[in-house]
């Protein structure tokens, strides 16, 4: 894999043909992808991903779309090539700071405006891309979730959201917009890890994942935060404006988002633990006042604020 990474860097002109692989650090991801940050002498650095089993086409497509739509917020893809039977994706690195912890009012405001801009850009720039269709996968995801979550209203829920989903535009989602995949550089948010791009194209999915990850997938905590004036509540309200949907609809679709998240992580080989976490969050969500069968109570709770 290191030899494949070196050959890809030579292919993209980062290294000369006889140069050794520069110093790097590496991590082996849950999706069986070797992720490396490589530091040649030039002072720049490069992100190299080598996939063991899956392809990297989806990530390359996502990163290319992101860089075309928001070049200041995504790293520049150099290309996807194959070496020694491994697909290798090379992109330029961006020096950044982690998003969390958010320090001070300015930092929070910049985060909020960055997310709002990201969502607005994704609606404008991604909706024309050929997605793989969430509407077709949604019923399978809900069916899968129904086998894991004891909730009697799954069928009624699908019937209830189907007409709402049908009129939503299809917008390929980042797929894993958790706080770990967002950095800060030069006052701008940088969005990383596009490997799940387009697996889901149901609008609001990225916002839901972000809200959950801000609370470490603790649904009870998120529910409290959404009910009171908070960062999460503002993100939800502003995000829904960017997405052109109501907060009621976003909350109604939360079980669908969690079902899709669990199915996606399961199918993309992230291991059972990640999917289990999503299903646990889903089960929790269905036990709160935000469960879709208690919508009237939910509306009144949110209207009170």
């Amino acid at each position: 894999m290191l030899a494949a990474a070196r050959e890809a860097l030579v292919h993209h002109g980062v290294l000369g043909p006889s140069e050794e692989l520069p110093p790097f650090f590496a991590k082996f991801g849950g999706n069986l992808v070797l992720g490396m940050l490589v530091y040649p002498n030039s002072g720049e650095f490069y992100v190299v991903k080598v996939a063991v089993q899956s392809g990297l086409d989806r990530e390359y497509r996502g990163l290319s779309a992101a860089y075309a739509a928001m070049p200041r917020n995504a790293s520049r893809p150099l290309g996807l090539t194959h070496h020694r039977s491994f697909p290798v994706l090379v992109s330029s690195g961006i020096r950044h700071k982690p998003l969390i912890p958010l320090h001070g009012r300015g930092s929070v405001q910049s985060f909020e405006s960055g997310i709002k801009a990201f969502l607005a850009t994704s609606v404008r720039a991604f909706r024309t891309l050929p997605g793989e269709g969430a509407s077709s996968g949604l019923s399978e995801a809900l069916e899968h979730a129904s086998t894991l979550t004891p909730w009697p209203d799954w069928h009624a829920y699908l019937e209830r959201i189907a007409p709402e989903v049908a009129i939503l535009p299809r917008i390929p989602q980042h797929g894993d917009l958790s706080v770990n995949n967002i950095g800060v550089a030069g006052g701008q948010l940088i969005f990383f890890d596009w490997e799940d791009f387009g697996f889901v194209d149901l609008p609001g999915f990225d916002l839901a994942v972000l809200l959950l990850s801000l609370n470490d997938f603790d649904v009870r905590r998120l529910v409290v935060r959404l009910r009171t004036p908070s960062l999460e509540r503002r993100l939800m309200q502003n995000g829904c404006v960017s997405l052109g949907m109501t907060t009621d609809l976003l909350l109604l679709l939360f079980p669908a988002y969690l079902s899709l998240f669990a199915q996606m992580k399961d199918m993309l080989g992230y291991g059972p633990e990640v999917a289990r976490r999503a299903i646990a969050a889903l089960t929790r969500w269905l036990s709160t006042e935000h469960a879709p069968d208690s919508r009237s109570a939910q509306r009144s709770a949110f209207a009170a604020h």
Partner: protein
Amino acid sequence: MSHSPDFTRDRRGWFYRALAPDASCDVLEVGDAFASNWFSNVVRRDLAEAAAHGSSPFDMVLLHQSLGGCTTLKSAIDAAHRLLRPGGILVVAGENRLVSARRGARSIARAPRATGWGLRALMSGAGFERVVLYAVYPDAVSPVHVVQADRPSSREFFHAAFRTRRRSRWSPVRLALAALTELNLMPYLQPNFVIVGKKC
């Protein structure tokens, strides 16, 4: 022993596969058994015994937290050198002597134990070239990160790692860690490492 590689069953040993030229190379595995998840031609045998009785040359020898029956780290490295083909790779996953002394009982008995500098010198002295030291996290068995000890990569890694910790700007610990990072001492102060060398 020959198995089809299984990438998903057990992810331990991923860095050994990353280092290898391909999955079908001949591997001698010493220590915990998980190389067969990644390689199709794995032999598990005591290192001292294989060196004493002769064995087909290997493309790769993995000393995973074990000296393989040898009494010293130097003799283990020498034995591995004899068992490798020219151009073959020796990988040693061991403990940092500077840190393992403090960890006491948590150290693994008979694990390769040396300082990063000492191990580098041993490898070079035994006839290995392109010797590269890596610090591993959180441990050598299932590292999440592998960091090449050279300055550009280790400096970036450790600065990034410390940025995520909540410490005041002028905290003595923070300043000390920043200084150790700038001096590129951090990889040499980690409890576990992997060192890799190529037989000339």
